[in-house]
Amino acid sequence: MDLIRDVLDKQLVDPEERRMGKVDGLILELEEGQPPRLVEIEQGAATLARRLHPRLARWVEALGARIYGEAPGGPARIPWSKVRDVGIDVEVDQDFEKSRLYFWQEWLCEKLIRRIPGAG
């Protein structure tokens, strides 16, 4: 499995094929005398920003803290053990309602969308 080609930046879907963001980052854990272990998938604006520039990531984190308050607490991580399948999309055993994407879409909906009539 080629982590960058086959996993990183792929579409993440829940068991019902609902889209829940992309694989923004992958975390390896180093252990003495053992090959590095793939432990988590990471998602979030700060994770993405860090790939462009570390300073940008700090700005995004500061901005996020200001907008949401303390609530989500850092980037969302999904343990690798929850991954069911790596194909064209990456399927994980976690419901969309628990994803980071759901959290901020709901936030956006609450603050903006529902205030406009006809949002459904």
């Binding site: 064209i88 879409q105 969308i113 459904g120």
Partner: protein, 406 residues
């Protein structure tokens, strides 16, 4: 039978979708200033667009991914964000130009200044996206778009020297004003090969759940549809060459001049038909571009997307097109000249083509996405050649046009 229906509907959609303010105004300017000499640019741009649209449809039908999805997945976030910013920026300018176009049509119809129309127009576009479904928007906008066929009628009634029109299919050097000639050529290429068209097409193919059985339909729709679309742009060029050129109107600085395009040929109807064509075509294009910007964000970041979802179900998607429309309206309200905005954004489109097209070509050659339906050498060569040409011309002629004034 069902397939035949799909093809007819697809072709109608493309005719309606092809003409927007960009291809209309660049073609008219070219006809007025250089008669039929720039016909080749329309043809070359359309050829490239046919290839690209066919590829976008094929990509979606075979890989079940949109081009944007794959752009992020294959090239990574850093490269994607670069393309995303560049293409979206140009799209916002074009969106402003289209909103300006609808406002202008309303100014022609009512006499009320276009600046007052920008906000209601933006709101109307937004309302349709907020409440409407994808099928309604795609089919409604394109059926109404058939009114632009009046340009073809006008061109035929004008009895142009067809032999000279055909001669324009071969590029020739202008006598004098060469900077303006090349700048117009670039703008026409940019207007014809608008990337939003094929990105939108690929998102549409996913919304309509295409699979490999649609490949034939896709070929027919892209080939026929875009050719008919180009016919309308060519008609505008022929009309301008016949109406404006002989009267000494060789330089068009404002839509107040372009508005007279059909009047000498169609009389009383000409003015109203022109305004209606302009308004409807630009309105359809504004819908498509606003949607396209939202699609691009949703696909690039892996959100749920779909014009058929309710705004509350995809709040990210709905927020993006709302924001895009606000920017587009602002561009008109601050009083940017709509014609300058149009022509400039078309040239800029041409300059940024490699950014969107080259990675797309790489994807089209990727066996993991395309399997046996990968691109052949011919498609690669044709598209790459036209895009490279547009890019070189754009890089050279944009600075000169800006320096040379007018």
């Amino acid at each position: 039978m069902k397939k035949a229906q799909e093809i007819v509907l697809g072709v109608v959609t493309s005719i309606g979708g092809f003409l927007e303010i960009g291809s209309l105004s660049t073609a008219v300017q070219a006809g007025a200033a250089f008669r039929f000499q720039l016909v080749w640019a329309v043809l070359l741009g359309t050829l490239c667009l046919i290839f690209l649209v066919e590829m976008a449809g094929r990509f979606a039908a075979v890989s079940k991914h949109t081009v944007t999805d794959a752009l992020r997945e294959r090239f990574g976030f850093n490269f994607f964000s670069f393309v995303f910013l560049g293409v979206t920026l140009v799209d916002l300018l074009v969106l402003g130009a289209e909103i300006g176009g609808v406002s202008l049509a309303l100014q022609l119809l009512t006499g009320i200044a276009l600046r007052w129309w920008a906000l209601p127009v933006g709101f109307a576009v937004w309302l349709l996206l907020w409440k409407g479904s994808f099928g309604m928007i795609e089919k409604g906008a394109s059926l109404l778009g058939l009114v632009t066929l009046c340009l073809v009628v006008g061109a035929v009634l004008l009895h142009p020297p067809w032999r000279q029109v055909a001669a324009g299919a071969l590029p020739s050097l202008p006598q004098g004003e060469s900077a303006h000639y090349w700048f117009l050529a670039v703008s026409i290429l940019g207007a014809s090969i608008s990337p939003y068209l094929f990105f939108f097409y690929s998102a549409g193919a996913i919304e309509d759940r295409w699979d490999e059985s649609y490949l034939g339909t896709n070929r027919a729709v892209s080939g026929l549809g875009m050719s008919f679309g180009a016919l309308i742009a060519l008609s505008a060029l022929v009309l301008a060459a016949g109406v404006f050129g002989p009267r000494g109107i060789t330089q068009l600085d404002s839509y107040d001049q372009i508005a007279l395009l059909l009047t000498p040929v169609l009389g009383r109807w000409g003015f109203w038909l022109f305004a209606a064509s302009l308004g409807i075509a630009c309105f359809g294009a504004a819908l498509e571009i606003a949607l396209e910007i939202a699609y691009r964000a949703a696909q690039g970041f892996g959100w749920n997307w779909g014009e058929d979802l309710k705004p509350a179900e995809d709040s990210g998607f709905a927020s993006v097109y709302t924001l895009a429309l606000v920017v587009g309206v602002l561009l008109v309200v601050v009083g940017l000249d709509p014609l300058k905005l149009t022509v400039f954004s078309m040239a800029l489109t041409a300059a940024t083509l490699p950014l969107s097209v080259v990675p797309f070509l790489v994807l089209m050659n990727d066996e993991r996405y395309m399997g046996e339906h990968r691109n052949g050498r011919l498609s690669n060569a044709v598209v790459l050649f036209i895009v490279a040409l547009s890019f070189v011309l754009a890089v050279v002629s944009i600075p000169l046009e800006l320096l040379g004034g007018s």
